[in-house]
């Protein structure tokens, strides 16, 4: 199943709607990383609200997405991990270390806004004009 990747301002949002096969996950990873460069976006949100299972491959792919996106200049945040899924994940030792996770899409947007703002303050005094 193809995961739709939406553009929202300077962020990309990938909303996973159903359980994905390993191939689907790899495809999602490639599509996201390609699009990060193409659309010059500053943040990636992967929404997993609909997932009630998260296996080790899924977790590793999410982590890879975050690290690869960072190399391409975008922050990644995983949103919408369900309490039961979170509990199962830590029991399996899959903790997504080094990857930002927040409660839901709204929090994810707020997180990325804060992050990009911090980066602008560090690097540029002004906000780029091409955002939209």
């Amino acid at each position: 199943m193809e995961v739709p990747i939406l553009r929202q301002g300077q962020y990309l949002i990938a909303s996973i709607q159903s359980a994905l096969t390993d191939a689907d996950l790899s495809h999602l990873r490639e599509a996201l990383i390609a699009q990060v460069g193409r659309s010059r976006c500053r943040g990636v949100i992967v929404d997993v609200t609909a997932l009630d299972v998260m296996d080790s491959f899924a977790v590793r792919t999410l982590r890879d997405i975050a690290h690869m996106a960072r190399l391409r200049g975008a922050e990644t945040v995983i949103v919408g991990i369900q309490p039961d899924v979170a509990f199962a994940m830590v029991q399996l030792g899959l903790t997504l270390k080094g990857v930002a996770t927040v409660l839901d899409l709204e929090e994810g947007l707020a997180f990325l806004n804060r992050r990009t703002e911090e980066r602008f303050l560090e690097t540029k005094p002004k906000r780029p004009s091409e955002r939209g």
Partner: protein, 308 residues
């Protein structure tokens, strides 16, 4: 087979008419005897209970009232051979007397006393006819034993039910997740943490994080007496699971003993933010929340985009 046996017994017996009676007939006779002497036996039993200093938590009138009810149920169970009514009665009785502090040995004691009182009255009645007494006792004993069992088991079951209920209640009570202010939760843990409780605690916390949209959680373990590596690992898992839901966890109130134990057994808590006491934890949490507090620009930034 049974018939032949009883025939052979009856040929040996002296009194043919009594001995040809079936055990059901004997039981009927027994019940009739117990009904006839109801008042007297009941009083005797109540007297014996008082003398044996059983049911001290109850007044004499109460003992007599219960004794009457137990007696009637007892005789009925003897007569019908069905124990449902007695079971139901002993359950209700247990419900009434357990809160008064009546102990298991007292309940077993009074039932055994009743058995003794009735057996003695049978001895007196049939003392001239040992043969018949024996056969009366043969039919009385199994029924009486079953009754004693039923009452005792009913009592214990009721107690266990109450204990289970209370354990459940304590568990529910002992893991309150409190919201101190917006986006800040406190989870004070008191008492012993076993794996089951640790699991329940984590699940409850994760749900509360989602429901309250919490950003920071302070887990206070001042009330935890001891912590082994299992519990410490649960704590670490809770912290990690909370992070997956976007909440930062601060653990407070690790006692000197627990700190020593954890370091000695080599549990790695370096990933965990710890602060000395609850006050410090809340201060730290407020600081984190202030850091994260959305600057006004953020609201401006989202608003126009989401309106499109």
């Amino acid at each position: 087979m049974d018939n032949k046996k009883s025939m052979s017994v009856s040929t040996r017996a002296s009194d043919a008419t009594t001995l040809s009676e079936s055990s059901a007939g004997l039981l009927r006779e027994l019940v009739a005897h117990l009904r006839q002497n109801r008042t007297q036996l009941r009083e005797e039993w109540a007297r014996r209970i008082t003398r044996a200093e059983l049911l001290t938590a109850m007044t004499e009138e109460e003992i007599f009232a219960e004794a009457t009810a137990v007696y009637d149920n007892y005789v009925e169970a003897l007569e019908t051979g069905t124990f449902e009514a007695l079971q139901a009665y002993s359950r209700r009785l247990s419900e009434r007397i357990i809160p008064r502090g009546v102990e298991t040995d007292e309940v077993v004691g009074i039932v055994l006393l009743l058995r003794d009182v009735l057996a003695r009255s049978l001895f007196t009645k049939y003392q001239d006819n040992v043969e018949k007494l024996n056969r009366i006792l043969d039919s009385y004993e199994p029924a009486a034993n079953r009754i004693a069992n039923t009452v005792a088991v009913g009592f214990v079951e009721e107690r266990e039910r109450i204990i289970r209920q209370q354990q459940e209640a304590i568990r529910e009570l002992s893991t309150p997740v409190l919201q101190v202010r917006e986006r800040l939760l406190i989870l004070p843990i008191i008492g012993v943490i076993d794996p089951q409780r640790a699991r329940q605690l984590t699940e409850q916390l994760l749900r509360a994080i989602r429901a309250n949209r919490a950003k920071v959680v302070v887990i206070d373990v001042t009330g935890v007496a001891a912590m082994d590596s299992g519990v410490a690992n649960h704590l670490v898992q809770t912290v990690e699971a909370s992070r997956l839901l976007g909440a930062t966890v601060i653990v407070t109130g690790l006692s000197p003993e627990i700190a020593q134990t954890l370091v000695t057994i080599g549990v790695d808590l370096s990933e965990m933010a710890t602060v000395g006491d609850l006050q410090g934890g809340i201060e730290e949490a407020e600081r984190l929340l202030a850091d994260r507090a959305a600057p006004t620009t953020q609201v401006r930034e989202i608003a126009p985009e989401s309106q499109r």
